[in-house]
Amino acid sequence: MTPILALNGITKRFGAFTALDDVGFTIRPGEAVGLIGPNGAGKTTLFNIITGFLRADAGSVRFADRTIDTVAPARRVALGLARTFQTAMVFPGLTARENIAMAVRRRAGDGLRWFGGASGTDAASRLLDDAGLAHRADTLLRDMSHGERRIVDALMPLALSPRVLLLDEPTAGLTRAEGERLLDILRRQHAGTALLLVAHDVDIVLGHCDRVVVMELGRVIRIGTPAEVRDDAEVRRAYLGSPGGC
């Protein structure tokens, strides 16, 4: 099967510091790929390059068989490439339903309309319902708990029905149980969506992903199935330390 997202030779320097060095891997449709590596490995920089918030110095990003290196971030979303951020980026002054409806309307092409078009609230309610947050639909995000905000944050790109979803630390700050539930929702909701998942909690990554990419100091050091990665000596040295550690 042809990959939905293919990275080839991505390199990025900040001054003398090389953040990414010849990074390349692919993601197939519907596949869940985990991305792990210690702090400074370049995971977030890579996210920003894939989604267009940063421009790579070299290399190319191919999405659904076209090169998208010069496509603006907002346009990449329209192509089906959605993301979250390391910290929850929600609209604190809007209700949970409105937060998600913002994405729903964009998906439906109604986001900039004044008259006509769907309000997107039905679809948003359904998503919240699925996530077990129906009772909080009319609460302002600023009045919600951290965990609830994270869930709304992750639901927003989901509402875009993307073909690839990049999740940057979606479970940070959540309890293990909350994190598991969040990932359950994600996997259940988007049977067809490919995932690129960064998480500190290695068990979560290994438990939910089909393949895992391990990075260190801007380079990919190993790509394999969770089992392969778990058993890899180099990965252990670089990152895992002891099994389950972080």
């Binding site: 971030p73 964009r106 309309r113």
Partner: protein, 299 residues
């Protein structure tokens, strides 16, 4: 709404000419402040050049009126068109930058318009401005009296308010709030910040333009002060006192400001101190202005 219309009718019947004209001016300024609220309150776009849209439309209306007469429909059309054009130019230039850059860019652009108005004597009358305007008219009726002006200003204010409210409640309005609260997330959701903000700018321009078009007829004069940045700052003061983010607060703000200026300055030279104090106290104690205070007190 019925209460508003009833109140307006009572005022129109009993108030004297001076008061009616004063109220008409408050309403026109209120519409301008409301349009600024769309930018600042909902879009987070701090503009110090809003007077360019408001006053630019006033100039355009005055110039057209001297040529072809002061037909109300023609005036509103001219004003809105001018507001739209100026807002489009300003939008294209400033909306790529944010925060302080936006503040300075709007200021510089508006001051460029002021320079033009101030120096292009043949068309704008230069520093002396334009006077000797024909009366406002609607078909066969002359609308020159204070009562007629008031009766034009009230529906204009009501319609502007309804338009603004529908804009804010619509998806585009929500998107505008989104770009203020979390612009990066909006981009990540696939919204073009420019497209959202530009639409807000156009709506604000058309509204400010419609109000501005009638201003020369209230004062029977238009001069370069009406495009000067200090008027932009005054609009911001009115907005803050009235309440950022609460459309109708604009009318409160313009009433409070013009009221202080008009009724206190005969008694004390320190009226500007008072305006400053009211302004700062509003920022400190009522961050959402009088309108926000009223809302909080009600709930």
């Amino acid at each position: 709404m019925i209460r508003v219309i009833a109140a307006a009718a009572v005022v129109a019947l009993f108030a004297d000419d001076y008061l009616l004209r004063f109220l008409a001016e408050i309403l026109l300024f209120g519409v301008a402040v409301m349009s600024l609220d769309i930018l600042i309150g909902f879009g987070g776009l701090m503009s110090l050049g809003h007077a360019a849209l408001f006053g630019g439309a006033a100039y355009a209306a005055a110039i057209v009126a001297r040529q072809w007469g002061g037909d109300l429909v023609l005036m509103l059309g001219t004003g809105m068109a001018t507001g739209l054009v100026l807002a489009a130019v300003m939008g294209v230039v400033v909306l790529r930058s944010g925060q302080l850059f936006l503040l300075i860019m709007t200021l510089l652009l508006a001051q460029m318009l002021w320079e033009v108005a101030f120096h292009w004597r043949d068309v704008t009358g230069g520093a002396d401005g334009l006077r000797g305007l024909p009366a406002l008219s609607l078909g066969p009726w002359a609308l020159s009296g204070a009562r007629a002006l008031f009766l034009v200003a009230v529906p204009l204010a009501v319609v502007a308010f309804l338009v603004a409210r529908s804009f804010i409640a619509a998806p585009i309005g929500r998107a505008l709030v989104g770009t203020r609260e979390e612009p990066i997330r909006m981009t990540a959701l696939g919204y073009s910040l420019f497209a959202v903000r530009f639409r807000a700018m156009m709506v604000a321009g058309a509204m400010a333009g419609a109000a501005g078009a009638l201003l020369p007829f209230v004062n029977q004069y238009v001069g370069p002060q009406s495009v000067h940045w200090t008027l932009s700052a005054t609009l911001v003061i009115m907005l803050v006192i009235g309440g950022i983010g609460s459309l109708w607060g604009g009318f409160i703000g313009s009433a409070v400001y013009l009221g202080i200026q008009t009724y206190l300055s005969a008694y004390t030279d320190r009226w500007q101190l008072l305006v400053g104090l009211v302004f700062v106290l509003t920022v400190l104690l009522l961050p959402n202005g009088v309108a926000g205070g009223v809302r909080r007190w009600r709930s």
